[in-house]
Amino acid sequence: MPVTVKTFTSSHDAAAALSSDRSARYLGGGTLVMRALNEGDISISTIVRASDHAMTRIDATGSRITLGAGVTFARILAERELGFLHAPARSIGGPAVRNMGTVGGNLFAPMPYGDFTVAMLALDAVVSVQGGLGGREIPLDEFLQTRDRQTGALVLAISFARPGSADAFRYRKIARIKPKGGAVITLAAHLPINGSRIVGARVALGSMAPTPIRARAAERALEGRSLDASTINAAAAAAVEGTSPGDNALASAWYRREIVGVHLRRLLSGQE
């Protein structure tokens, strides 16, 4: 069924068009919205686009990094300053999907997709959204909990603090098909070290709930401790707490619960 395509030069105008029409969806790279149209999703009658350059900007020069919502994974891979994000960017799709898929779209990718968002969640990212009435910043954690109600707002950018050291940020995607495949589970951790203690531990999990979630029990097991064997064991044992994985063709909920602690232990102990 034909849809109306509205293209705006300003992201503010695009946001206004999006918020005033319940059946409008924003088109970024196309990997979610065009797929929905190909599958005959009749809930979409308007496609909104923005050619605003601000939405494809990368600001990675300082300690605070901002990625425009329209930045593709291929561009992240081409950016030397963003080396710590190359593993999550490379774990998504094949080269064509990485040339198309965007950071902003990934926030809406349903399980088992959305691997990059798991990395963003571990980095305590903040989402800049533009609604019909104005702009606001929402912590990613909160954004994901209300994701289904966010379709009327336009995501402009996502920002987060650069990890203090290369070792502080870790990422692991478990997939059955390599190099490309949907996730069985995805894990990311940010472990800032102050002295010899972890301060501000973040552990994020993908495919362990309908949206990426934080493993708060595992974070508590890591907080204020040094990253030794007993801390790693305690965090691994707590990994499954608060999760609600589902069954799909890649793995059962039972299997996901069984392996999440095993892979968190490997991630924390630096095993391949």
Binding site: G29, R35, G93, P95, V97, N99, M100
Partner: protein, 159 residues
């Protein structure tokens, strides 16, 4: 509903068509331009047989809104041969038995071309990565990887 005028370069030739809102590039190429080389596989971005090059970058035409290629260059498998002569990649695919049913072949060739255009001497791992978005259910991939490496080394097989 009103159609939208769309102009772009198709295999080096200027084309102008009218598209319905929401038409994807694959439908525009096959049904409006008559280029049947990109195939419809899954419509979800999972199989890669609709792959085309947009301004030299590999994209999935089934997930590309046709209007977004306005003024840009789109290259399909139909454009890579030189008159009656096969492209070296096509020759290598034939010589290395890299096609069986052939349905994935257009996407495989475009993914391979995207790789060789920027990296004329890829390693085996780089070839595997380059075709990782393309699914083949016949060959087991080995003949395809060998064909890309053979084309890269001018017909000589590489380890």
């Amino acid at each position: 509903m009103a159609k939208t005028a769309l102009q772009f370069q198709h295999n080096g030739r200027d084309v102008a068509i009218f598209v319905d809102g929401g038409t994807n590039l694959l439908v525009a190429l096959r049904e409006l331009i008559g280029d049947m080389t990109p195939k419809f596989g899954c419509g979800q971005g999972g199989c890669g047989t609709c792959s085309v090059l947009i301004d030299g970058e590999i994209h999935l035409s089934c997930l590309t809104l046709a209007e977004t290629v306005a003024g840009r260059s789109v290259e399909t498998l139909d454009g890579i041969k030189d008159g009656p002569n096969l492209h070296p990649l096509q020759r290598a695919f034939a010589d290395n038995f890299a096609a069986q049913c052939g349905y994935c072949t257009p996407g495989m060739l475009m993914a391979a071309k995207a790789l060789l255009d920027r990296n004329p001497q890829p390693s085996r791992a780089e070839v595997v990565e380059a075709i990782s978005g393309n699914i083949c259910r016949c060959t087991g991939y080995e003949p395809i990887i060998n064909a890309v490496l053979a084309a890269a080394s001018g017909g000589r097989a590489r380890a």
